[in-house]
């Protein structure tokens, strides 16, 4: 693709703005699939989805179908979902358990680590280069796989930083999610939403750390919830969790500014830290005790004092620790993105904690709720507004420019409504996209 030479790509990202083509040009999207989604560590799934040998979960990395599967030796493998013979997808869809993977077209069979182990009419290959023991005809393992607290990541690039260094300061968000379990263990449970958007994947990723939008976009849901509950609750009634959840969305700018923003290497970032819109939830009976039994009082206080809002692990998912859930980004086309929402159970915690996360996801992440569709609408209007040829080719990122605080290790801090995170994400974007991925 000669259209976007490095120099031209680099020119799309300025210190205070980005060119609109970044969101609208199908060529840029294809380059992103190759250079960002083909280089970064991409979230694949959680190992609790494949507990037993032979358990598999079929998904995508960028546009490529893959299968996460537990091999009989206990290792979790991520295989390209392609038969080594003629190229058919071996696993049709979804999840399940299989002793071996058999292609549904000609019946070639692969072991749970991808090795080709059975060929029908094998003698027909005598004297040819095709056959068992030739790794090029296996279901191929993706170049690199690693996991962190059971979260399985894959990289399509054989080179690059190891997972832990790459996660950088965002690793602490995963640590906190796991430590909030009295057994130090999480598992995926309670199903998944798959919310289809008619907009570019970066709009969702940016929005998760955009503290300027909730009071506008979510006024109709959060503001209305406050009013309806106020009118209906009698004195002394306990506020239902639904209200605790919805009402902080319309907190004022000062609140969101104080929440703060932090960004680390490789494009990761977080809103909140010491407090967030998730801070005001009522305690769950028995939870504190369960944590204290495991960690002691002081450590429990430290664990619960961490109140990160949304952590963006760039580019492929976002995470909440208080609400034990993640949202996984699945780019489909330049203007088409699926956002999957998954919930974790914190093993050993009262079920009420898990059920509260389920309620949160119903109310905020479902495509039939009162909050998600207004975000969808904002992205839709961005995608369409950027089609104008009005002489303004740029998307502004000027808010609080020049006011970032930078630590010695490169960690950046800013007030919650700063555009710092967007500027930071696009510097990372440029690093992946230009000079053969210099950052990698």
């Amino acid at each position: 693709m000669a259209h976007y030479e490095d120099e031209r790509l680099a020119d799309l990202v300025k210190a205070d703005r980005v060119h609109k083509n970044i969101y609208t040009d199908p060529e840029i999207f294809e380059l992103e699939m190759e250079r960002i989604w083909g280089r970064a560590w991409i979230y694949v799934g959680h190992d609790s989805q494949v507990k037993e040998p032979g358990d598999y979960f079929a998904t995508n990395i960028g546009k490529q179908p893959v299968v996460m599967i537990r091999h009989k030796d206990g290792e979790v493998c991520v295989l390209f979902n392609r038969c080594g013979h003629k190229g058919a997808q071996v696993v049709g869809d979804g999840c399940g358990n299989a002793r071996q993977l058999r292609c549904s077209y000609h019946g070639y069979v692969f072991d749970t680590d991808g090795a080709l182990i059975h060929i029908p009419k094998e003698e027909a290959y005598d004297g040819t280069r095709f056959g068992k023991g030739r790794p090029e005809y296996n279901m191929q393992q993706v170049p690199r796989v690693d996991s962190y607290h059971g979260l399985v990541f894959a990289s399509m690039s054989a080179k690059g930083p190891d997972l832990k260094s790459w996660l950088s300061g965002a690793a602490a968000s995963i640590d906190n999610l796991v430590e909030r379990s009295p057994e130090g263990r999480i598992e995926i449970a309670g199903g998944c939403f798959r919310y289809l958007h008619d907009s570019n994947w970066k709009m969702f990723v940016e929005n998760l750390n955009d503290a300027m939008h909730p009071m506008v976009v979510h006024q109709s849901s959060s503001g209305t919830a406050k009013r309806v509950f106020d009118e209906n609750l009698k004195e002394g009634d306990e506020a239902p969790f639904e209200l605790e959840m919805l009402s902080p969305f319309t907190n004022n700018y000062e609140f969101f500014d104080k929440m703060g923003l932090t960004a680390w290497d490789y494009g990761h970032s977080v809103t909140g830290g010491k407090f967030s819109i998730h801070s005001g939830y009522s305690p769950i009976p028995g939870y504190m005790e369960a944590l204290t039994n495991r960690y002691g009082e002081q450590r429990t206080r430290e664990i619960l004092a961490v109140n990160r809002h949304n952590t963006v692990i760039y580019p492929s998912f976002t995470l909440k620790g208080v609400i034990t859930s993640i949202r996984v980004v699945k780019p489909v086309a330049v203007d088409k993105t699926v956002i999957e929402s998954w919930v974790f159970r914190q093993v050993g915690a009262p079920e009420e904690l898990f059920q509260r996360s389920i309620t949160y996801c119903n109310l905020i992440n479902s495509h039939a709720n009162l909050v998600g569709p207004d975000d969808y609408e904002a992205y839709h209007r961005l995608q369409h507004g950027l089609q104008t040829q009005d002489g303004n080719e740029w998307v502004s990122q000027h808010r609080y420019l020049g006011l970032d605080e930078v630590d010695e290790d490169g960690t950046k801090h800013a007030v919650g409504t700063s555009d710092m995170v967007f500027r930071h994400q696009f510097q990372t974007w440029k690093n992946y996209m230009v000079n053969g991925g210099a950052l990698q």
């Binding site: 309670g190 199903g191 849901s221 919930v343 309620t359 495509h367 709720n369 009162l370 207004d374």
Partner: protein, 170 residues
């Protein structure tokens, strides 16, 4: 319409025609966006539930596309008129078709009916029309000459597919 007697008495098994007419009336209220009248068909603690996976056993331990009792319905209904509900501008429209109505179970001692049916709902907004289809399971309580909805479960055929917005009650 006379008020139901205070004492519990044996209810009569409702006829299919009456059940159908009730479901058609409910569908019409939704299509005409008479939300408050629609909500008044429900018992106050009545549940409206759209599971997110086929055969979902309960709404507490698995995510649902919608799970609402009275207060949350009141929030949604009030939001329909909110000037800043941008996903409802332009306003969505719908057609609900209800068919294949059967009375699966009836308990004369408390007037509880389990009614199943099939539906198609067309949602139109901003040059885009979506088709949703599936089955309804209504738990209705017969009170004198009228029905109240104790629960409505909507099993959407493609509930676990990647879907865009559902803006109107199914």
């Amino acid at each position: 319409m006379s008020a139901p007697p205070a004492a519990v008495r044996q209810s009569e098994r409702p006829g299919l025609k009456a059940l159908e007419q009730f479901l058609f009336h409910e569908a019409r209220l939704l299509d005409e966006q008479r939300w408050e009248e629609w909500n008044a068909l429900y018992l106050e603690d009545g549940e409206y539930w759209v599971p997110a996976t086929p055969g979902q056993p309960d709404p507490k331990n698995h995510v649902s596309l919608i799970y609402e009792t009275g207060l949350l319905r009141a929030v949604r209904i009030k939001r329909y008129k909110h000037p800043s509900a941008f996903s409802l501008q332009p306003k969505p429209r719908s057609v609900h078709l209800v068919s294949n109505v059967t009375l699966d179970d009836f308990d004369g001692s408390n007037g509880e009916c389990i009614v199943t049916s099939r539906f198609i709902m067309l949602q139109y907004r901003r040059e885009k029309q979506d088709v949703f289809a599936g089955s309804y399971t209504h738990k209705l309580i017969v009170r004198g000459n009228e029905f109240k909805i104790a629960s409505k479960r909507v099993d959407l055929l493609n509930c676990d597919a990647p879907l865009e917005n559902i803006l109107i009650y199914l």
